[in-house]
């Protein structure tokens, strides 16, 4: 299989099974691109999460563009972005065309009552693995805790957390040199 085909199939698969927004696909993307395909290592994957979160645009598409670009340049990036978006476009078009009453269907609602708590678990699960990979220790454990509290309890935008931490890291690095 050519690299382009692999990029396309991998991201189309990720796009097809992302229900409930960008963070729900973090775990699946990590499994596919880091553990299975070894396209990136864990650290670079986390760095990309930060970049995708702090640049405009759709999170999953930003991730796909970068990974595609790393493998095959701009062409790979385009293939990754389109492959991630394609399943949604097709699914929504089918619904718009044929299933006007989709959301009123009782069976669909039942399935989603089961899927929703699962999606929350899928988002939370990679946190613990990432805590290890982010080299959390007794000096920096408070950083994720403060970030999580600011965002979820005080409604602070994640962009601010990233900006402040980025500036902090920059200054710390300068001081150390």
């Amino acid at each position: 299989m050519s690299t382009y085909t692999q990029i396309f199939l991998t991201f189309a698969k990720i796009g097809s099974f992302t229900i409930g927004g960008g963070f729900a696909m973090v775990q699946m993307m990590e499994r596919e691109v880091v553990d299975r395909k070894h396209w990136l290592d864990h650290e670079e994957f986390m760095d990309m999460l930060v970049v995708a979160q702090s640049t405009p645009g759709i999170f999953a598409i930003d991730m796909a563009s970068h990974i595609g670009m790393k493998l095959k340049g701009t062409g790979g990036g385009i293939v990754g972005a389109i492959a991630t978006a394609l399943p949604s476009i097709v699914a929504i078009l089918l619904i718009a065309l044929f299933f006007q009453t989709f959301k009123e269907n009782v069976y669909v609602e039942k399935v989603f009552m089961g899927v929703r708590p699962c999606v929350v678990a899928l988002i939370l699960a990679p946190c613990f693995g990432m805590a290890k990979k982010a080299k959390l220790n007794k000096f920096n454990w408070w950083i994720p805790v403060v970030a999580a509290v600011l965002i979820s309890a005080f409604g602070v935008s994640p962009i601010w957390c990233i900006l402040i931490a980025g500036i902090g890291g920059f200054l710390y690095g300068k001081l150390k040199q």
């Binding site: 650290e43 645009g57 978006a85 949604s88 990432m130 080299k135 959390l136």
Partner: protein
């Protein structure tokens, strides 16, 4: 010209979308319902519900559906609406994509520089917090059921949540399998 307007509006929504799909919804609502009157607020709510329960990024789902509906409301036939849907979806993507290409090129080249290394060393712990916050904010009545109104749904939801967490964390069950299993559980239990 509805197509040019769709292109312009969704390009704007794409480039001003910081902070994920849910933040994007308010932007889309403002443009599509309040400014351009392409649909009513009720239609918009329906679109959000459908976007949340279909695969794919919410922003793309919403753009596709809005593009389709807006063109239909402007009095065009179905094939034109399909074009409008694809156009709206691609409009959301293209500007952030160009920006991402520049950022990626820089990072791939300068990944080992001291400054980039120390900035990312501080940012990695933050992303752990960001993801935790996303999960905490989704632990809502809408997703888990109200414990006082529907205790049965609430208990089932908590059980599914715990099983899914343990399954994926300890037993490394693939997320796709986990979603399919939980969907099946919902269908059988409720």
């Amino acid at each position: 010209m509805i197509f040019l307007e769709l292109f312009y509006v969704f390009s704007k929504i794409g480039i001003f979308n910081f902070g994920g799909g849910y933040a994007m919804l308010s932007l889309i609502q403002d443009e599509v319902v309040n400014k351009h009157h392409w649909m009513t607020i009720n239609e918009f709510t329906d679109i959000v519900a459908i976007s949340q329960s279909t695969p794919g990024p919410i922003g793309i789902n919403c753009a596709t559906y809005t593009g389709y509906t807006a063109v239909i409301h402007a009095g065009y036939p179905t094939w034109a609406a399909v074009l409008g849907a694809v156009l709206a979806s691609l409009s959301v993507i293209w500007l952030p994509f160009i920006l991402m290409v520049c950022v990626s090129k820089y990072l791939i080249k300068h990944r080992d520089s001291k400054t980039v290394t120390s900035v990312f060393a501080t940012l990695r712990p933050v992303i752990v917090g960001l993801i935790a916050a996303a999960a905490i904010m989704l632990m809502s009545k809408e997703n888990f059921g109200d414990p006082s109104e529907s205790p049965f749904v609430f208990i089932v939801s908590i059980t599914i949540f715990l099983l899914a967490f343990v399954g994926t964390r300890l037993y490394k069950v693939h997320p796709i399998i986990m979603i399919l299993l939980c969907g099946l559980a919902g269908l059988l239990i409720y």
